[in-house]
Amino acid sequence: MAAYKAFGIVSSADNSIHVEGLHDYRPIGSFSFLGRFRVIDFPLSNMSNSGMDRIQVYVRSRPRSIAEHIGSGRHYNINSKRGKVQLLFSQDSNVHSIYNNDICAYSENLDIIERMHQDYVIIAPSYMVYKQDYCELLNEHISSGADVTMLYHKVDNAKEYFQNCKTVNINRQKGILSIEKNLGTAKEKNISMDTYCMSKETFISLINAAREMSSIYTLSDIINIKCGDLDIRGYQHKGYFASLLSLSDYYRASLELLDYNIASELFRPEWPIYTRTTDSCPTQYYDTSKVVNSFVSNGCLIEGTVENSVIGRGVVIKKGAVVKNSIILAYADIEEGVHVENAIVDKWAKIIHVKDIRGTAEHPQYIKRRDTL
C-alpha cells in the first residue's frame, strides 16, 4: 500500500489531438475498448490496484459519458468514504483553444491539488492502454531521488504507428535528455507514456513554471524544458502497450488483442481491469451463427458470421450478415446480408440498406454513431 502516499491524476489528451469519428462524440477515455471496457478503465484500475484511492480525472469536453461511466468510482474498488474519484472540469469556455491544455486545467484546480493529503502524485493518461503497478514506479522514484520519473515504452514500429505520441531520449543512467514529437523517422523509439511520478511540491512548481513561461505549455513541454535543471528519469514499461491517439492506432490495438496470449497478459486475474457493468444478459448464438477469433460482449444476438472482430454489448448481427476484421460498438445493428470488413461501426448505428462496407487494414472505414445506412 505504498501508493497511499500518492494521489492520482488521469489526464486528458491535448486539444491538438483528434481521433477521426469516435472523438466527435466522446473523449478518448470514454472510447469503448474490447467491447466491455472503456479506455479510462485502464489507468483507473492501475491506480486502484496500486492501492491509490484519491484520483482526479480531468475532463475537457463532452463529459457526460465519462461522468456516467465513473459514477461514484465504487466499481473501481475504491472506498467511497476514504477515497474519491473526482471529476475536474476545465472551466475555460473555449474548449478547443490551444490554451485549454492540461496545465491550464491543473492551474484552474490548483487549490484542490494543494489540499490533497498525499505527498506524491502519479499522472497517467486517459488515452493509453497498459498495465503498471504504480507502487513499483513510486518506490523507484523515491529510492532514486529523482525529481520526476516518467514511464516509457520501447517500440520497433514507430514509423507506422504511435502517431501523435512523443518520444524520449535517454542516457545510460536513465536520465531523460529530451522529449520530442514522434516524427516517424526511425523504427526503434522510446515512446513517452505520458505517465509521471513526482512529489506534489514538484508538480505544483512545474505548473507554476509552465504558466509563467507560456500559457500554451503542456506538462510534457515544461518537463522537456526542465530536463537540464531537474533530475528527470525514465522508467521502462514492459508488456502490452497501446496509445490511442489516432483511429488506426485504436483499430490496430483492438485487433492485436485477438491473440488470446497477448490479451491474457494484459488481463491478469491478480490485476483486474474494472469497469461499469451494464447488467446485460449473456449473448445468444443462433443455429446459423459462425463466429471465430473474436471477442464478443454480452447481450448480443448473433445469427450471422463474425471473424477477427470485436463485438460490443447488445449488438445484433442478423442472418447472412458477415463482420470481418471490424470493431462493432454497442447496440449497433448489422442487418441481413450486410458485409462489413475492416470497419469501425459506432454505437447505435444501423446498417440495413448499404450491403457492403469495406475499409482497409491501414484505413478502417468509420461509420458514425446513430447513423442508419
Binding site: H75, S264, D279, C281, V292, S294, S297, N298, L301
Partner: protein
Amino acid sequence: MAQNEMLAMILAGGRGSRLKDLTTKVAKPAVYYGGKYRIIDFPLSNCANSGIDTVGVLTQYESVLLNSYVAQDGRWGLDSKDSGVYVLTPREKADEGLDVYRGTADAISQNIDFIDNYNPEYLLILSGDHIYKMNYAKMLAYHKKMGADATIAVRGVPMKEASRFGIMNTDGNGRIVEFEEKPAKPKSNLASMGIYIFSWKLMRKMLVEDMKNPNSDHDFGKDIIPKMLADRRNLFAYEFCGYWKDVGTIDSLWEANMDLLDPKNELNLNDSSWLIYTEDVSTLPQYIGKDAKVKRAYITQGVRVEGTVTNSVLFTGSVVGKGARVTDSVLMPGAVVEDGATVTRALVAENVRIAKKAKVGSRGSEEITLVAKNVKGGTK
C-alpha cells in the same frame, strides 16, 4: 414517502437436497442459473424493479456463501440511503436459547422486531428459489384495490397436474373461498406460488398468536392461510401469467437453462425495462477461438471457446478446449472442458475440470448427468 410501504421477506432457507452435490456447499437460492445468475437474483431484482427498498433474506442451512452473496446489496441497487438487503439467521435472544426456524411463518415471527423497525404497511413474502419476473408493485395495487387482508399469487397449471399443488378455489371476483393442499380432485387449476402480500398489522397479530399455539406447524400454507379462511378474512388470488420455474431437481435445472436457448423464450432476459441484476465480475468478454464452432448457445463474458459448442449454456469463466465438444449441456462458472474432451447432456458444476479426451454424459441418457467432481483424462 413510499419507502417502507412494503417490506419484502425472502424465505431462502431451502436446502434443495434434490439438487444433490450442487447444494452440499451452497443453499438452493445460491445455485447458478442462466449463464451468469444465481436463482436468488430473480426475487431480488424483481424487488428492485418493483420499487421495494428493504429486503430481509431468511437463511438457515449452511449459508455462508448465500449470506455474503446477498449482503452485497449494491448488486441489485438496493444500497441507496434507506435501502438494504438484510440477512436474518435464527439468533440467540436475551431471554431464550438459540433457535431454528420451525416453519415459514415462524421464520417471519422470529423477525418481528426487525420488521417493526421499518413499520411497513404491507409485508411481501417471497421464496428464494423460483425463476420468474414479476412486478410486485402491480400485485400490491391489486391488494389495495381489493381491500384484501392477504393476496396470494397463483398461476394456472394443467388441470391434470393440479393435484400436485396447493390449489386456490376462488369465487367470480378472485376471492379465495377454499385452499386445498394437493387435492385428489382439484376444483381449480390455480396453484399457489408461495408469494403473499399481507397487511402487516393483521399478520403481526396472527403471527404472535400462532407462535403460542403448540399445535401449529408455524407454516403459512398449513396454518396461517387456513386460519385466515376460517376467520372469513378477505383473501384474494392474483393471477400471474409468464415464465415461472421451480428448479427442484438436476433435470429441471438443466431444462430451465435449455429454455434460454430459444431466442424467443418467454423469460426474455434481454428486456432492458426489467433487467435481472447479479454479481459483477472482472473478466474479458467472451472469446471465441480460431477453430471454434458455436451454434445455438447462451454464453456469457469471461468464457473461452476453442472447440465446438452446440445447444448449451456456458457460465462465466468456463473454458472449452481445442477439439472439445459440448452438446446439450450446462457448464457452470469456471468449469473447464479440456482439449478433445466431450460433454453431452450434462451439467458440469463450478470449477470442475474434465480432463483431456475425457467423455461425460451421453446423448440417450434418461437423466441429465451431474458432474460435480473432476474427471480424469480419456485414453483414446
